[in-house]
């Protein structure tokens, strides 16, 4: 009997120790949450780590710290301050944090501007004097909701460019047939591992969407239904796919391109195997300098992407990220969040943070007047390309079309299926996704 009592007490003691240690662990999180509440208005600003003071690159840390500090000193008299919450930038995280009421302002992808505004998550920034007319035209179109509201302020943009080694390719090709001629010439003259061009086939279908639209193709109608597979549109797809497939199958670009993301094709460029490539105006410009042998960097230049001969000119797909104020049913809170969104995208904050990030600002005035951008050759080419900037549709079905076409072009280029088969596979998948979307 006595033994039993002792055992029980010991048992409870051990359980207590285990429980207490867990309780301490949870208190740490609780105390952090508690510390956030206060008298003043705090704009809790959710941003991915690569666009925050927590990024690995010191210049970004400094630039974002600068934007936050300047806001806080400017609005200190009104008792408003912004506090950065570093997240992973994933759609899921942003949705969860908004639903939980944990954030007042967000940094997010341009593809979600309209859907989040439509879901009632965002504040109309027009009410707070966002001067949207100072931005690029395509930016104004994208951020403006059907009811005239401004859903978000687009902070930075990027567009694909044609990068080339001027010692091998003195003038950039303007059209696809000129590009193919250059590729053929280099294969004949050098052969082996040397190629005239490379472009990623994974996660890069947006370039093809731009060229398809430039050729007169349509993607979705005004009701959000896919229209990409009418007989006329299929003919246009055959041109686009035919170009991409023949580059691979005629051995005009490295075969590895089919399986490569935009970063995975770069080692061939850095190794000196490839003399030109389709790259992103932000990412690839940033990567060239540190990875090429020092004496070779000066040989590289950029131009707008070559376009299909049948089109008079190309359309360059612009993407990017913006800042919005989260709707909170509290007018003062909304106003403070809107003030932050406007402040973070004003002329000086945008110039600093974009420069640090290696991004293209969405205010043309920065590109033409800022001492860095006005003299940087790559930035000026980007400005030129963005004059024919185009933004992908925001209809929900488009999110499903993008991966379906991405897979289709890889399947066709590896020769697994013919172009027509790949297109009908994509059509079937998109139709299925559209039905699922309709039913839910």
């Amino acid at each position: 009997m006595m033994k039993k009592g002792l055992t029980r007490r010991d048992f409870l003691k051990s359980v207590g120790v285990g429980g207490a240690s867990l309780a301490v662990a949870s208190l740490i999180d609780l105390s952090r949450a508690y510390a956030q509440s206060g008298e003043e208005i705090v704009v809790r600003y959710l941003t991915p780590s690569w666009a925050s003071t927590r990024d690995r690159r010191p210049e970004r840390q400094v630039a974002f710290r600068g934007a936050i500090d300047s806001f806080n000193s400017q609005f200190a008299s009104q008792g408003i301050r912004v506090e950065e919450i570093v997240g992973d930038g994933a759609t899921l995280t942003i949705t969860q944090e908004i639903e939980a009421g944990n954030v007042d302002a967000i940094w997010f992808n341009h593809g979600e501007f309209q859907s989040r505004y439509g879901a009632g998550q965002l504040v109309d920034l027009n009410q707070y004097e966002a001067q949207i007319d100072q931005f690029f035209d395509f930016v104004q179109n994208t951020v403006t909701a059907p009811d005239g509201a401004v859903a978000a302020l687009w902070h930075n943009t990027d567009t694909p460019l044609y990068y080339y080694n001027t010692t091998k390719i003195p003038t950039a090709p303007a059209t696809w047939s000129e590009l193919v001629a250059i590729c053929q010439q280099i294969r004949e003259e050098e052969g082996g591992n040397k190629y005239g061009f490379v472009t990623p086939y994974v996660g890069w279908f947006q370039v093809n969407f731009g060229m398809y639209v430039a050729l007169g193709g349509t993607l979705v109608d005004e009701n959000g239904a896919p229209t990409a597979f009418t007989p006329e549109n299929l003919d246009i797809w055959r041109i686009v796919f035919g170009h991409a497939v023949s580059l691979i199958q005629d051995d005009l670009i490295p075969a590895s391109a089919v399986g490569n993301l935009q970063n995975q094709m770069l080692p061939d460029v850095f190794a000196g195997n490839v003399y030109s490539f389709a790259g992103n105006s932000n990412f690839h410009t940033r990567e060239l300098l540190p990875n090429l042998p020092p004496e070779e960097y000066a040989n590289w230049a950029a131009a707008p992407l070559p376009y299909p001969d049948e089109a008079g000119s190309g359309l360059n797909v612009a993407g990017g990220w913006g800042i919005a104020a989260v709707n909170s049913d509290n007018a003062a809170q909304n106003a403070a969040a809107a003030a932050w969104a406007i402040h973070a995208t004003n002329q000086s904050a945008m110039a600093n943070t974009c420069l640090a990030g290696g991004w293209i600002p969405t205010r043309p005035e920065i590109l033409s007047a800022d001492p860095f951008y006005s003299e940087d050759a790559f930035a000026q080419v980007t400005l030129q390309a963005l004059e024919s900037g185009w933004v992908v549709p925001t209809a929900p079905i488009f999110n499903e079309m993008w991966p379906a076409f991405d897979v289709a072009i890889q399947r066709a280029a590896t020769g697994e299926v013919s172009i027509d088969e790949a297109l009908s596979e994509a059509e079937a998948e998109i139709n299925r996704a559209y039905e699922a979307l309709q039913s839910s």
Binding site: R8, V15, T91, N109, A255, S256, G259, E416
Partner: protein, 313 residues
């Protein structure tokens, strides 16, 4: 949590006569229950909960507003060629991996079973990859197998006069890359198991076989392997279970490509439920998870059956 499990046990038992609680806290359950309850709550309950999630249209944007939709998710994934392909690929991948990994692992175990000074070093080097995370293994082999002449392996093959291998851009090559990387990573487990078995073998039986004039091969196939029957069975079950859930290596190595040729059930499930952007289809993902669960369950039943069989043998 501890307090919670304890409370729960009190509640369930206090309803009966008061003596039960006394007896329970004195008996084996006092030791067993906390662990079993904790395991049940965080490891078994989710498996059951999965059945419910799989019959709803739950998405990452509407977790609390999920609606029951019956077997719709299963119908959708059964009709989806993408999922069907990943299903077939997973099965084929397992069927190829299991025998190859077993033979290689057993071969290495036989090699290490001889009295060779320095064999501890050889053994260590074979099992070192086991300590590395799958995701890091994928990342590092993506570097090593980089195509054209930039990656180490292709550059090395180049010095032997061979053409660069398209490790990731051709479907069959990408599958092969995944296969060898997986073998490189996991063959050590099989080796350890079989080596452990070999070292417990009765030396006298082996010597008797040698006296009878059995050659090296005959001794392995007719003497050692039958004696190692049980442990070989366990090793095969473990390879099976481990290979079936391959996911992280796919994510880091091929990202399912080219054109989803290397997409496995696990990869398909993860990317359906937690995509990089857009809404995650949790209900659909859970249905895929149940398909995977069904297979693991079969393996598990087989495994438990083997243990019972061995104990009564």
């Amino acid at each position: 949590m501890n307090a919670l499990t304890d409370k729960k046990s009190i509640r369930t038992t206090a309803q009966g006569n008061p003596g039960v609680l006394e007896r329970l806290l004195a008996g084996p359950w006092m030791f067993i229950l906390p662990g079993v309850l904790l395991y049940g709550a965080f490891a078994l309950y989710p498996v059951i909960y999965q059945f419910w999630v799989a019959t709803t249209n739950m998405a990452t944007t509407s977790i609390s507003r999920a609606e029951f939709i019956g077997f719709h998710n299963f119908e959708v994934i059964a009709a989806d060629p993408v999922f069907r392909n990943s299903f077939i690929f997973t099965i084929a991948f397992v069927l190829v991996t299991v025998p190859v990994q077993f033979v290689l692992g057993f071969g290495l175990a036989l090699f290490l079973d001889q009295k060779l000074p320095g064999r501890l070093f050889f053994r260590l080097s074979i099992i070192i990859p086991l300590a590395i995370s799958s995701i890091i293994v994928g990342l590092m082999w993506r570097l090593l197998l980089h195509e054209s002449n930039v990656g180490f392996v292709n550059a090395f093959l180049g010095t032997l006069g061979m053409d660069p291998v398209p490790w990731f851009s051709q479907a069959m090559h990408a599958r092969f890359s995944l296969f060898i990387v997986n073998i490189w990573h996991a063959v050590g487990t099989t080796m350890i198991f079989m080596l452990g078995g070999l070292q417990t073998l009765d030396q006298e039986v082996l010597e008797a076989a040698e006296v009878d004039g059995a050659t090296g091969w005959q001794r392995i196939i007719y003497v050692k392997l039958p004696m190692l029957r049980t442990i070989a069975g366990l090793a095969i079950v473990l390879i099976f279970a481990g290979t079936f859930q391959i996911f992280e290596k796919v994510l880091a190595l091929t990202n399912g490509g080219p054109a989803r040729a290397t997409s496995t059930i696990g990869f398909e499930m993860y990317t359906t439920a937690f995509p990089e952007s857009g809404t995650g289809q949790l209900g659909m993902g859970a249905a895929m998870g149940l398909v995977m669960f069904a297979f693991i369950l079969i393996i598990t039943i087989f495994y438990v059956w083997m243990v019972i069989f061995e104990q009564e043998d």
